[in-house]
Amino acid sequence: MTRETLRILYFYSGIAVDSTSTVLQTPEQVKIIMTDAIRVYPPKPRKVYFYGTCLIDLFYPDAGLAGVQLLEREGIEVVFPQNQTCCGQPAYTSGYHDEARAVAASQLGLFPDDWPIVVPSGSCGGMMRKHYPDLFRGTPQADSANAVAGRVWELTDFLLNVCHIKLDDLGEPTTVALHTSCSARREMGVADVGPRLLDQLKNVTRVEQARPEECCGFGGTFAVRHPEISGAMVTDKVESMITAGAPEFVTTDCGCLMNIAGCAEKAERPLTGQHILSFLWQRVSTPAPGNDDGAQS
């Protein structure tokens, strides 16, 4: 049969770069159009800054704590700047960029040393990594914003690809579905991380719902501006997980968690959920019934 491979040759300044064999060394000018540069994972650091996010702070602190404990389990010292509040994303996506910038500016100084900044959310991570540079472009804080952006990592990605975490499953056999948030999937590009972490757990059966890559309908203010559309989306998401045979789901972002679990609860459907970090921590830590840090659904 005929060979399917298509090679695309880039000619830059007379040098041909074959896309099948070479990682493109993108010259500055070419970056206007080229895909985001491939991100190189650093060696495991001694210390990290932990940016907890406001949803975790208020509604799911157990997930944040689980993330801290997983990092500490890897021998990393976790610094939690107490002056953290919010990354500014809610105002940013609503168009209120002055307000977003003011709040974000108050966060830029929280990470004085050159440690990575880990965020247990693709959405807040995406805001800091991808949108801070745009938000501060042309302002005196531009350099500082770019520096922060360059050090931001989504936490599960960091655990898997920087810490090379090994998860020994101590839990009872169970079945879960995974919902990777759209921002983790598309802004942070870590769609493969959740499955790879869950697949390390020997007593956990991961089932895949129909259209796993489709948005759950949260979208921040979208959920309240367009309640009917958002409601239809989240209802479909809940049903797809139940149909896949999952009594429980895990997700990488608290917005999705609040949305999907809240919908299942309201509709009295047999589906509970938790943040993937809470789930992972429970699987690897000694089972302790009645633990305060236990899961919320």
């Binding site: 090679r7 159009i33 895909t35 010292e77 609503s94 108050s106 100084g109 929280l110 609040m258 809240g262």
Partner: protein
């Protein structure tokens, strides 16, 4: 389903009712879900074995390069087409473009116009205009023909009649053309062929769109499966092509990668049945083809998009519709709900420029910013970023950046602005934030169980008994917890 009103203000107000209506209509829901699922799968299959990211980079590069030289390329296109014997016209807006086409028809004493698929002509509302002038304008693309018979507008830019099922189409053809009712798609298609062939034989003028206009050679390229485009551009004595000014490409060599991206992204086809490249009217000795070929270049808001480096990327669009096929919002509410010529994600970043943000204010918010559109766009238009840009302009939300889109600031409301200002005030004062969140956690039992739109479909979120800040402060394992130390002042 109701048709979008011609009056844009009601387009905005009708978005929610129409969305509710569409969501409650199992027929619409099923038609779109099935169609979009199929199209997504086909697209994925079509790109198997391809280095899609590299190809998308290339597509974006070609389109951006053309835009970077747009005025020069338009002049080159005009010069080469003119040398080839094609007459080139320029129109500032849809009305001017309609008048140009009317004038050509009048000069030829043309009474019957047959049309190939053209979204720009939808944008111009050409059919209504010509009919008001006593000139018959008949759509010949089967989907467009169906939509025209139903007195509707397209619900998808590639598949105009995707909202209808076979029964509805069979009933429509029966009522309007006397075709016998049937569920046999081959029969219905054959019957339309018969009717439209008569029309092709009688038509005085053919009007088509253009997918790519190649400046280097003066060539108009049309992508299609049915052959109605070839018929429209060959059978009548006069062919008028109409296109947006952004559709120009620099070189013939730019065509193959874009064609590969377009058909695979749109319908998952390796290539469409026909790729039709027209460079001249009928030459001496040739036995068919139109004796006159015209190209109408339509601006209609595009040059204002062109003013801004960020917004400019909108103009890279090659109208494949992949963003719609992958949009979870579009999939659920369908194209008519948006009430605009271009629906879905591309519509939401394009229409505000064509009609003004005041008349399209529902569009930038009708997205969860999930990013599926940007991920599949064959020319890498950062659609989610542009949606955020338009949201920002809707509320004039950035003192450091100018708002440039007509109707900007339309959604700025005192109450909402104050709310965000309050949010800013609390979240940029860490001590206040900690105090406020700690108090909220303490008083969590007082949080109401009904939170407006949120709790219509979900239970209310429950505040945790302690915040993460509190938990972390109480913990000992991490000695370097910096809570008590003053921070270096943020660079201000």
């Amino acid at each position: 389903m109701n048709q979008p009103s011609q009056h844009p203000h009601s387009v905005v107000q009708e978005f929610h009712p129409r969305a509710r209506e569409a969501l409650a209509n199992p027929q619409i829901r099923a038609n779109f879900r099935k169609a979009m699922d199929g199209l997504m799968t086909k697209r994925q299959t079509a790109f198997e074995g391809w280095e899609l990211e590299a190809l998308r980079d290339l597509g974006a590069n070609i389109r951006q390069r053309a835009l970077s030289k747009l005025p020069d390329l338009l002049e080159q296109l005009e010069a080469n087409l003119t040398a080839n014997g094609v007459q080139v016209h320029w129109a500032n807006d849809g009305d001017e473009a309609c008048q140009i086409i009317r004038d050509i028809c009048v000069a030829r004493e043309a009474k019957k116009v047959i049309k190939g698929k053209s979204m720009v002509s939808e944008e111009m509302e050409l059919n209504h205009y010509l009919e008001a002038q006593g000139i018959e304008a008949l759509e010949s693309d089967l989907g467009e023909y169906i939509v025209q018979l139903a007195e509707e507008t397209p619900s998808h830019i590639i598949m105009p009649a995707i909202h209808k099922n076979t029964t509805e189409i069979s009933d429509l053809l029966h009522d309007k053309t006397g075709t016998e009712r049937s569920h046999d798609v081959n029969y219905l298609t054959a019957s339309a062929r018969q009717q439209l062939r008569e029309k092709f034989m009688q038509a005085d003028v053919g009007v088509s769109g253009v997918n790519f206009a190649v400046a280097e050679t003066g060539t108009l390229c049309l992508v299609e499966n049915e052959g109605n485009g070839r018929m429209t551009t060959t059978a009548p004595a006069c062919h008028i092509a109409v296109t947006g000014i952004e559709k120009v490409l620099e070189k013939l060599d730019d065509v193959p990668p874009l064609l590969a991206l377009l058909t695979r992204s749109a319908t998952g086809q390796h290539i469409t049945t026909y790729f039709n490249m027209i460079s001249r009217p009928r030459q001496p000795g040739e036995q068919d083809g139109p004796e006159a070929v015209h190209l109408v270049l339509v601006d209609n808001g595009r040059s204002s998009i062109y003013q801004d480096n960020e917004l400019l990327e909108t103009l890279r669009c090659i109208r494949c519709g992949a963003c719609m096929n992958h949009c979870p919002v579009y999939t659920r509410v369908g194209g008519h709900t948006y009430g605009t010529t271009y629906p879905g994600p591309i519509g939401s970043i394009l229409m505000p420029h064509l009609l003004g943000l005041d008349e399209t204010q529902h569009m930038p918010t009708a997205s969860s910013l999930c990013g599926a559109c940007g991920e599949v766009c064959p020319v890498k238009i950062p659609i989610p970023d542009l949606l955020v840009r338009l949201r920002r302009e809707s509320v004039d939300g950035d003192k450091l950046r100018v708002s440039e889109v007509r109707g900007h600031g339309v959604k700025r409301r005192r109450v909402e602005s104050l709310a965000w200002l309050g949010w800013q005030w609390m979240h940029s004062r860490p001590q206040l934030y900690r105090l406020g969140t700690a108090v909220s956690a303490r008083l969590r039992a007082l949080v109401p169980q009904k939170l407006g739109a949120w709790t219509r479909y979900r239970s209310a979120p429950r505040l945790a008994p302690q915040t993460l800040h509190q938990m972390m402060q109480k913990r000992t394992p991490t000695a370097a917890n910096t809570s008590q130390q003053p921070h270096r002042e943020a660079t201000r």
